[in-house]
Every structure is written in structure tokens, then in C-alpha cells.
């Protein structure tokens, strides 16, 4: 059978592969190449070696901390959003698996914001934030910390419902007799949570942690629409910082591309860590 199928390569695989080449492989490889070049379009490149990478941090002999600030701001934002989203969505999931009345309606409501895209979502909240803050003569971009918490609220509203759905499924997969056995042995609710529910949920917790981690790290639309990186460039997350470097000023495309390569390496490291963590768990269980 394998032989019979094999001849059909052009029909089965080629269309996807041509698009995959145009949409991913060529841009990726050429993108790495261009990060070592000075360019304004893809054809006028000139090899400059590692100078794009040094220009991320040093401009005209002076230290430029914009990228480092953005990296730090993004890390903090990601850490806070991962914590809040996971703790809240786990708590909601625990409550909604107790079989209380209205569970389905609550689940529907909490999940709803997740379907609304980042741009639309951000303008809903921009209106609410700015109209409330206007009473205190402030806006959401008055300081980087207003912007920070604004972004946190927006991503929480968007992602808590999504993570809740995953936690609910995880909790429902815990065998009921395990919990019954623990109860008969006299475990109280706290012990039940710590010694039965949480250990059994580890795979789910890993999945949700890494989903929120990469979502936070790669956040773009909400950042662009809600704060635009203001005030100054103080609330620029990494993705927006790269976009701004690339399209904000001419002559900086190479630096933007170099930043993108660093960004890619960071995201890839997170993904590898997840892979390692979840496969080692699988071996254990």
C-alpha cells in the first residue's frame, strides 16, 4: 500500500509544502540571514556581521536600555499574569466541578471573552479604564504601572475562562474512588487538595502554565491597542518593541530582525523546557 500511495506525493504533500515554504521556511531562514545584514527591503542587503546584535544594546558608544527594559517588563508581566490566571482559573474550576446549580451557564459566561480578539477586547477596556481614570485626571498610560495592570486585567479577562475549561477537564479526570478513599481515611479538604487533587493535576498544571507563559511572552495585539507602548516606550512588551524597531524608524530593520532572533530563541527555550518537563512526568506515571 505504501508503494501505491508514494507516487501521489505531488497531490497529497506538494500544495502544503509549497505554502509552508513560502509562509514559513523561506522567511525563517532568510530572516536569520538578514539579522546579520543592513537592509530596508529584502533585496538591498549588505553584510554587517554581528553589529545589529550589538546595536540592540549599544548605540553610538552609549548603553541603550530600551530592549532590556522591555525584556524585564515582559518577564514581570508574564510572571504576574501566569500566577493570577492559573490561581483564579483553578479556583473557579474547583468550584464549578462540585455540581452546583448553574454550572453550565457560569462556564459559558467565563469562557466568552476568550473568543473576542485582542484588538476588540482592548478597546472595550480602554473605554472603561479611561472613563474611570478620567475622574482622577489620569489615563491608562499615565505611568507604565497603570499600563501594566491594565494589560494584566485584559489578559486575565481573556484567558481565565480558557484555562478554567482545561482545569475542569483535568479535575473531572481524577478517578472518583481515589477521592472517596482519601475521605474514608479521614483526609480533610486541605489535605485532599494538597495530597490528592494537586498531584493528580500536575500534567494539567504544566499545560496551563506553559500556555499562559507563552501567551504572556508573545502578547502583541492587546499591547498595541491598549497602551501603544506609552508612556514613552515604557510599556512596550517584547513583541511590540520588535515591531516598533522594525517599522518605527528606517535604518533599524536589521536591529529589529536581530531582536526577533533573540525573541525566537527565548520562546524556543520555554517550549523546550515544557517538552522536557512533560516527557519526564510521563515516564514517572
Amino acid at each position: 500500500m505504501e508503494k501505491a500511495i508514494k507516487r501521489y506525493f505531488p497531490i497529497f504533500v506538494l500544495p502544503t509544502m509549497i505554502a509552508f515554504f513560502i509562509g514559513f521556511i523561506a522567511p525563517f531562514v532568510y530572516g536569520i540571514f538578514l539579522s546579520f545584514c543592513k537592509f530596508t527591503t529584502v533585496v538591498d542587503w549588505e553584510w554587517v556581521g554581528f553589529s545589529n546584535y550589538t546595536r540592540i544594546f549599544y548605540v553610538n558608544g552609549k548603553l541603550d536600555t530600551t530592549f532590556l527594559h522591555s525584556l524585564w517588563y515582559t518577564t514581570l508581566f508574564t510572571a504576574v499574569s501566569v500566577l493570577i490566571i492559573n490561581i483564579v482559573s483553578f479556583s473557579i474550576a474547583m468550584a464549578l466541578t462540585k455540581g452546583i446549580k448553574g454550572t453550565n451557564i457560569f462556564r459559558t459566561v467565563f469562557f466568552m471573552p476568550n473568543l473576542i480578539g485582542g484588538i476588540v477586547l482592548s478597546y472595550i477596556w480602554l473605554m472603561l479604564f479611561n472613563s474611570v481614570l478620567a475622574h482622577f485626571s489620569k489615563t491608562i498610560v499615565s505611568t507604565q504601572w497603570y499600563a501594566f495592570w491594565g494589560l494584566i486585567i485584559v489578559v486575565c479577562w481573556q484567558q481565565i475562562g480558557y484555562m478554567m475549561i482545561i482545569y475542569v477537564a483535568g479535575i473531572q479526570n481524577i478517578p472518583g474512588d481515589l477521592i472517596e478513599a482519601a475521605k474514608i481515611d479521614g483526609a480533610n479538604n486541605l489535605q485532599l487538595l494538597r495530597n490528592v487533587t494537586l498531584p493528580m493535576l500536575m500534567p494539567t498544571i504544566t499545560v496551563c502554565t506553559f500556555l499562559t507563559l507563552t501567551n504572556g511572552f508573545k502578547l502583541f495585539d492587546q499591547n498595541l491597542a491598549l497602551t501603544g507602548g506609552n508612556p514613552g516606550k515604557m510599556s512596550q512588551l517584547l513583541a511590540l518593541n520588535i515591531y516598533d524597531t522594525m517599522y518605527g524608524t528606517t535604518g533599524w530593520q536589521g536591529v529589529g530582525q536581530a531582536k526577533a532572533v533573540i525573541f525566537f530563541i527565548l520562546v524556543a527555550l520555554i517550549a523546550l523546557a515544557q517538552n522536557k518537563l512533560s516527557t519526564s512526568k510521563e515516564v514517572q506515571s
Binding site: 505504501e2 501505491a4 500511495i5 508514494k6 497529497f12 504533500v13 500544495p15 502544503t16 509544502m17 505554502a19 509552508f20 513560502i22 509562509g23 514559513f24 522567511p27 525563517f28 530572516g31 529584502v42 468550584a95 462540585k98 452546583i100 446549580k101 448553574g102 451557564i105 457560569f106 459559558t108 467565563f110 469562557f111 466568552m112 476568550n114 473568543l115 480578539g117 485582542g118 484588538i119 476588540v120 478597546y123 472595550i124 477596556w125 473605554m127 472603561l128 472613563s131 479577562w157 475549561i165 482545561i166 477537564a169 475521605k183 499545560v207 500556555l211 508573545k218 502583541f220 495585539d221 498595541l224 513583541a239 520588535i242 515591531y243 529589529g256 526577533a260 525573541f263 525566537f264 520562546v267
Partner: protein, 301 residues
């Protein structure tokens, strides 16, 4: 003893149940309140949106009922915000482009990647293995890494239109789709396909008559994940499409802010409502599939 315990815990559960239901009812109302506030404000004059977004009246209730009712008339703008919004954003064109691009991309992605996934699972050689690894790899690459080169290549290849961007979406979305289909195909027993081939089916007939119907659960999952991504995507179409000619919905909304000087918040509220309504309808209609799809996608991705 055990029986006794059980009855105690049921009683306790019921007690907490009522409280929890009440608590979550309130939290749920707060949770979707932003959507209703946007709906309400979309009918107000822009001056009154920021003065008090939580009230439908220009006057406070503490000034007495009559003045409150009069204030409603003063604050309301009827459907005028909607008329402005539709004109400024060219809403129906934007909606049409978004719908076309999403539907066409999802259909193309489903057909092409499921065929590709079946082929690379059934044929074992270096090429198919490499394709699989590349697809896995593409899933961890953030869009920023390829955005500049991808948009320039798309321009050079004349893909800067709603038909061309379908190919770009197929290319950039292929990784996840191929990965998910491959995972499912691996679990299908090969005997059914062999039987079909022995009965004289060509591989193409075998795929579309036998394999593709079996893939249905994954097809639904992939469709939903890709549709949610493409419908809401802002950055890729804003870089790839010829923006002067073709604006998708997210782009039109973002441009409403950028290109008309002082942002008209009345029009913004109206266009947000227009953008949210189709999503809510879609959600209500296919809630079961959406939640299943999201779940399957999360566990595998």
C-alpha cells in the same frame, strides 16, 4: 458509619451549593458587564460616554426621577453612532473580507494539511520524517521572527490580496494542523484503508471516501482553532494585505483609532458591538464544539 458521613457531606454540599451559586451568579454578571456597557454606550452621544459610562442618563439619579428621565433623552444618540461607524470603517467590506479570508483559509488548511498528514504518516522515508519535524519546529517560532521577510515575500509573489493571503495562512498555519492530524491518523487502523485499496480505490478515493470521514473529530478541532486565530488576527493581515484596498475587521477597528484624528468613541463603541455580535452568535451555536476543540488543542499543543 460511612453512610452517616456521606449524608453529612451531602447536606454540607447542598448548603455551600446555594451560596456558591449566588456568588458565581454575581461574579458572572460582573464578568460580562463590560460587554453590556459597550452595548449601552454605543447608543449614547460621545460626550456622555466618558462622563459616566455606567449610566444611560446625562443626569444623576440623585437629582430626582424626572431629571433622570430627561437626561436619558439628552444622552441618547439612537442609531447615529452605528451609521458613523459603518461609514468610517467601511464595515460591510471589512466584515466580508474577514469572513472570506477565514472561511477560505480554514477550508484550504483542512483539505491540504489532512492530505499531507495522511501521506507523511503512511509513507515512511527521510522526506516525510523531515516534513514532520519541520512542522513541529514551526509551532514554536513566534510570528515576529518571520514577519518582515514573510510580508516582503508575499508582496513579491503578489499574495497581498484576500486570495493570496489564504496561501500565507496555509503556510504559517500548517505546522499545528499537520501535527494534530498526524496524531489522529497514527491511531487509525490501516486495515480499512488496505481493504479499500484492494477493492480498487485509488489513494485519492481512499483518502476522501474512507480516511477523511474518520478524521472528523480532528477536523472540527483544527477548524475551530484556526478560525479563532484567523478571524481575530491583526498583525499578519496588516503586514501582508494591501491595506489601502483590503481591511479585515481588526484592521478596520485599529484604523478607526489611527486615521481620523480625534477618536470618535461613539463610533468605536458601535463598531465593537457589530464585531462582537457575530462572535456571540457563533459561540452560542457551536459552543459544544468550540469547548471540545479548545480542550483537544490545548492538551495536544
Amino acid at each position: 458509619m460511612a453512610k452517616n458521613n456521606e449524608s453529612v457531606s451531602t447536606v454540607r454540599r447542598a448548603k455551600h451549593g446555594g451560596l456558591l451559586t449566588f456568588f458565581f451568579a454575581i461574579v458572572s454578571i460582573i464578568w460580562i458587564a463590560p460587554l453590556f456597557l459597550v452595548l449601552m454606550n454605543s447608543f449614547k452621544k460621545k460626550a456622555f460616554i466618558f462622563r459616566n459610562p455606567f449610566s444611560i442618563s446625562a443626569n444623576s439619579l440623585s437629582d430626582g426621577w424626572d431629571s433622570y428621565v430627561k437626561g436619558i433623552e439628552r444622552a441618547m444618540h439612537g442609531w447615529k453612532n452605528y451609521a458613523t461607524a459603518i461609514k468610517l470603517t467601511d464595515f460591510f467590506h471589512a466584515f466580508g473580507y474577514s469572513l472570506f479570508i477565514t472561511v477560505a483559509s480554514v477550508v484550504v488548511i483542512i483539505i491540504c494539511t489532512s492530505m499531507c498528514a495522511w501521506y507523511i504518516t503512511r509513507v515512511h522515508n527521510v522526506v516525510t520524517k523531515t516534513i514532520y519535524v519541520l512542522c513541529l519546529f514551526s509551532m514554536i517560532v513566534p510570528f515576529q521572527m518571520v514577519m518582515f521577510t514573510l510580508s516582503k515575500f508575499a508582496n513579491m509573489l503578489k499574495l497581498s490580496n484576500p486570495w493570496g493571503i489564504v496561501i500565507v495562512y496555509l503556510g504559517f498555519g500548517a505546522g499545528l494542523a499537520v501535527f494534530m492530524f498526524t496524531g489522529f491518523v497514527k491511531g487509525i487502523s490501516i486495515e480499512i484503508e488496505e481493504a479499500a485499496m484492494i477493492d480498487g480505490c485509488t489513494p485519492i478515493q481512499t483518502f476522501f471516501r474512507v480516511v477523511f470521514p474518520i478524521l472528523k473529530p480532528t477536523t472540527v478541532t483544527v477548524s475551530i482553532l484556526q478560525a479563532m486565530w484567523i478571524w481575530n488576527d491583526y498583525l499578519l493581515p496588516s503586514l501582508v494585505l494591501n491595506i489601502n484596498k483590503y481591511k479585515t475587521l481588526p484592521i478596520a477597528i485599529q484604523y478607526l483609532k489611527q486615521s481620523h484624528g480625534q477618536l470618535d468613541w461613539g463610533a468605536m463603541m458601535a463598531v465593537l458591538v457589530l464585531a462582537i455580535i457575530p462572535i456571540v452568535i457563533f459561540y452560542m451555536a457551536c459552543q459544544k464544539y468550540i469547548i471540545e476543540g479548545v480542550l483537544a488543542g490545548a492538551v495536544k499543543g
